[in-house]
């Protein structure tokens, strides 16, 4: 385990090298909940100028097995478009600074992620913006943005099948006990594959409450956590964002913000794309299966991995339980009582 002082010392040395200016870390805090990377917020004095940065360091094990190049590359290609993301500054694969690879991004000050305390009118505003941004992301041409240099480009009629196969393989690899509900979901999804995607889009892969920053004016200032980003069917992100797990106790509000029909309408207008109800239902069930795969994987990671971060156990135990019940609601015959 690396100490805050070690991060502080190594980060200032690294940034001095890069910027060729004196850099002092004046404040450092580790942020809880960074499931795939250790995340640190640092305030810097750069040759007399104050600057905030976020450092994301690879942990010994993580909730999501992803490539840091992919995440950093996504930030680099999205930054400067109409999708707000933090400015990517450095990607360092050399472990000599912090024992692991890391990336550094500009911090965005005065923002929060928790929508729980917001009054409903502010949530509605945020919901409109959240789904408009997602619509704009879906409308972008990923090839024009250069995403084909970064990741595989699936055929339109293979987007669903390839994603399903990937997450099925995660479950097969990481399950520590047989998973009857996950297996039933996989079989259902295989039997009901949706039609080809209407277009290829950049899929964020984890577009949900908690993964965007907003300010006191209710404006979204950054979409975060692109480590599961890939190219695919734009309905995938829409369905993921509306999974019941992200609703908390406000079951009628997509991402605790706006009703489902409002979210879909905003997305349609911003993306200019069609909404196919049947295909969307497939992606909703897929979204729950993918989430379950992540929770199963985190449980395995907590038990066998090097890192013993409590977030892995929280995800592995509690979220598996809740996600299984969500899938049951989707798949069990209606007459099977709750």
């Amino acid at each position: 385990m690396i100490s805050l002082d070690q991060v502080k010392t190594a980060a200032s040395a690294f940034l001095e090298e890069k910027w060729e200016k004196p850099v002092a870390v004046t404040d450092i805090q580790k942020i809880y909940g960074g499931a795939s990377r250790e995340t640190y917020r640092m305030q810097l004095d750069v040759d007399g100028e104050s600057k905030g940065v976020i450092l994301r360091r690879d942990p010994p094990s993580s909730l999501i097995d992803t490539e840091r190049e992919l995440e950093y590359g996504a930030y680099a290609r999205i930054f400067g478009t109409d999708i707000p993301v933090p400015e990517p500054l450095f990607l360092e694969n050399d472990a000599r600074y912090l024992e692991q690879a890391f990336s550094i991004m500009a911090a965005i000050d005065g923002c929060q992620t928790d929508v729980g305390a917001l009054p409903q009118d502010e949530r509605e505003l945020l919901g409109k913006e959240k789904y408009a941004i997602l619509g704009r992301l879906a409308a972008h041409d990923p090839i024009e943005l250069g995403f084909d240099e970064l990741m595989a480009v699936p055929a339109l009629d293979k987007c669903a099948e390839e994603q399903l196969s990937y997450w099925e393989s995660v479950i097969v690899q990481d399950e520590m006990h047989p998973q009857p509900i996950a297996r039933a979901a996989i079989r259902w999804l295989r039997r009901h594959l949706p039609p080809a995607a209407q277009k290829l889009s950049v899929v964020h892969g984890d577009y949900r409450t908690g993964n965007y920053l907003f300010n006191t004016d209710g404006r979204i200032t950054a979409i975060l956590d692109w480590e599961m980003c890939h190219l695919g069917d734009p309905l995938e992100d829409l369905a993921w964002s509306m999974d019941p797990l992200w609703r908390g106790t406000e079951k009628h509000l997509a991402g605790r913000l706006v009703p489902d029909d409002a979210a879909i309408q905003i997305w349609k207008e911003a993306s200019g794309l069609d909404y196919d109800e049947e295909a969307f239902q497939w992606w909703r069930i897929f979204a729950s299966l993918k989430a379950l795969a992540i929770w199963i994987s985190s449980s395995e990671d907590h038990e066998h991995g090097e890192g013993k971060d409590s977030i892995l156990a929280v995800a592995g135990w509690i979220m598996t339980d809740r996600q299984n019940r969500i899938l049951l609601d989707y798949l069990a015959p209606a007459e099977v009582s709750v």
Binding site: Q29, I181, G248, D321
Partner: protein, 140 residues
């Protein structure tokens, strides 16, 4: 001495969350400490009820599989008793039966004559999920 282990764990979790965590200075450590406290409560519930819940699952799976034309090998597994009630042994028994259940669930989806079995398996899965609900951490 026979300690009331589940209650002892709940007391430890309470002490951690109410007395120690508020004294921490780092937000990360506070959040981590609260999560650990909640996880200890989950473990306390599991310690108190976990084996009983699994035994109820095992009995129900045996009942569901009792209507199936099991192979000799499957029957041997399904009808075996339990002579060791440690959590590890009960888990292993639970896993064996669940694997057979998954196979028959798949068969019941492909064969219309197994509709009643399919329904019985879904009913079992619902009861199983309800039985194992984690209540120590409330939904946000």
């Amino acid at each position: 001495m026979i300690p009331n282990t589940d209650q002892a764990l709940r007391n430890i979790a309470h002490r951690l969350m109410v007395s120690l965590v508020p004294e921490l200075r780092s937000e990360y450590a506070m959040a981590d400490g609260m999560s650990l406290g909640m996880l200890i409560n989950v473990i306390a519930d599991e310690l108190a009820e976990g084996i009983q819940r699994r035994l109820e699952d095992i009995t129900e799976m045996q009942e569901v599989l009792g209507s199936c034309e099991l192979s000799e090998k499957e029957r041997g597994v399904a009808e075996a008793g339990i002579d060791n009630y440690s959590l590890k042994a009960v888990n292993a028994r639970h896993d064996e039966l669940t694997s057979i259940l998954i196979d028959w669930h798949e068969k019941s989806e492909a064969d219309d004559s197994l509709g009643a079995l399919n329904h019985a398996i879904w009913q079992y899965l619902r009861r199983h999920a309800n039985r194992h609900v984690i209540t120590a951490i409330p939904e946000a």
